[in-house]
């Protein structure tokens, strides 16, 4: 069966240890986690996790079923089965002497990214978009020398 990338939304009780329950489940059952984000949801007392995972259809089915076995899991939705919007954010601190700055600014503008901090020899670039866009931005920044990179992993929602 074909291994594909899936984005899953998991609505959980906002309880201590719930991240450990979910990540532990993935670990011990040999499910892959490409990224995981957690934050508040539309309902008080509940958090939403967005997990990006790799696996075939059987694995995905098991992931959903095993997640539902956790008492703190309220709802599991496979977002990638429908048209969805997925976004992640990256902060890139890139070497930028005075001569390189205009060039970098040009790239930033084209990507509709933004410069959020300017140091004496560096710029901090913030880019928001889908995974491919962030990957592309990182590639373009590499020639200048990336000092530090931090990206969030995807958060996502079904359209409509």
């Amino acid at each position: 069966m074909m291994t594909t990338r899936h984005t899953i939304s998991v609505l959980v009780n906002d309880q201590p240890g719930v991240l450990q329950r979910v990540s532990g489940l993935f670990g011990r059952r040999g499910f892959n986690i490409e990224s995981i984000t957690v934050g508040q949801s539309e309902e008080q007392g509940l958090s939403r996790m967005i997990i990006v995972t790799l696996g075939d259809d059987n694995t995905l089915e098991q992931i959903e079923k095993q997640l539902y076995k956790l008492i703190d899991v309220i709802k599991v939705v496979n977002l990638s089965s429908k048209p969805m919007v997925a976004r992640e954010l990256a902060l890139i601190k890139v070497n930028a002497g005075a001569s390189e700055r205009p060039e970098i600014m040009g790239v930033v503008e084209t990507f509709r990214a933004s410069v959020v901090d300017i140091g004496s020899n560096s710029l901090m670039v913030q880019v928001i978009g889908d995974t491919e866009k962030i990957d592309a931005m990182i590639e373009l920044m590499k020639p200048y020398g990336i000092r530090e990179l931090s990206r969030t992993g995807a958060t996502a929602m079904i359209r409509g």
Partner: protein, 581 residues
Amino acid sequence: MNAQTPEVRSTEQLREKWMKPEVITGSEILLRSLLLEGVECVFGYPGGAVLYIYDAMYGFEDFQHVLTRHEQGAIHAADGYARASGKVGVCIATSGPGATNLVTGIATAYMDSVPLVVITGNVATSLIGTDAFQEADITGITMPITKHSYLVRDVKDLPRIIHEAFHIASTGRKGPVLIDIPKDVSAEKSLFEPVKSVNIRGYNPTVVPNKLQLDKVVQAIAEAERPVILAGGGVVYSGAHEALYEFVKRTEIPITTTLLGLGGFPSGHDLWMGMPGMHGTYTANHAIQQADLLINLGARFDDRVTGKIDGFAPRAKVVHIDIDPAEIGKNVNTDIPIVGDVKVVLELLNQEVKRSDKADAWRSQIMKWKAEKPYKYMDSDDKLKPQWVIELLNKTTNGEAIVTTDVGQHQMWVAQYYKFNQPRSLITSGGLGTMGFGFPSAIGAQKAFPDRLVISVNGDGGMQMCAQELAICAINNIPVKIVIINNQVLGMVRQWQELIYDNRYSHIDLAGSPDFVKLAEAYGVKGLRATTKEEARDAWQEALNTPGPVVVEFVVDKDANVYPMVTQGSTIDQMVMGDCE
């Protein structure tokens, strides 16, 4: 209730007392809540972090506390109690080492879906996370082996948490739930009001199946020429044995029961094919492999049942009925999945299903296999054979005892040669395969059924993993008949080393084991030994005639192997028949 109970009060009177809203400590809340859940007996071991709880239990007579000699003994006893009675087993241990000593027992219960509420103390909330004396993150440690767990941070949550824990442990696919209570929470006072309802948003097991799926099963049964039922622990746990009997009566489909399913269907029935899998019968394994319809009732297609998974039941349309949706399709591709309680599903199916003539030739084939390929062993006049000993136990008790086993060869011989007819009469660690389980679980089973005959069958290896609980039998006069099948080696490991590792017997010699008769006597338990058939008959009869606990050591031939055997990587019809040839 023990002998010191001064007065007998009616349950209603007691209940009224417990239900009264009152400001009491967390420890008292715990005890009252346990009583309101119907707990009659808990197994435990005190320590620093549970001092308040044990202080509340001082002079407490409304339920019994059995003080074991090791926390592992306590949890296996609670497990045996739960498996025998169907009620939730309860055990209590202190923080740190007390809690970690429960880990094997929790995993044992988790693998076999046994309802337990496990209560641990922890250091005070202000000390959690500081590596305090006897601190262990037991909720973290046990996350993968509990159905759910709670760390109680506020005494006000305690009544709700206990009620939820019992609900979660005993419904859906049953399992152990851990409640970790920090010391200050057990001391703090709060208004206790009994919790009457449960509202857990993320927990709502599907009990009633989808009707359309049932129709497909009825249709499949009508069409099948070679149908087989594979019944597992779910039949026993859901109390579906009568519905299953009715189902087989109506459909006349041959049935095999897994290790945990033994007793879920009467072994004397014509259509019963015995156990499947690694040490299963020729009939059951060949029937599964040739079946065109395999109906799994509450079994989980464990690797010991399926053998090589790719070649398992290759011709069968698979129906899988389970309360746990995650089991369906996990190991074996399923054609007709049905999520629901096995009992409810069978009762609905029984209204529709009929016997099909198309399977007549198949039924004759099954009868032929059963007659031609029963379990067999090479008996001997001068040596005591372990299989013969199990047959002796079976004959003398008409298959009516509660039998607990440890793990290894003797476990398989009990499964093969003891003819179980009632559910909950075999208590064995199937999934985890826990040595040291056999004896303490019998103590729990006997506490659940003080008047029934409880036999605990152990090897000489496993007996030494929890032998300290002999003290409990002696001091409480718990009349378990403790059988030790002593072959002086770790028999199952020896068997694999003989058959698969070219007779390279690595570290299996149990020389240096104690004299089990003297060991029993040292604890004040009667000890008997048999080395011949005649001695065996006499010793066993004496044990049965003795009112209290007895250890009977049967010194047996160490060369005996469990046959048939399906070696790893083989499909289940590729059987090494050995003595069964």
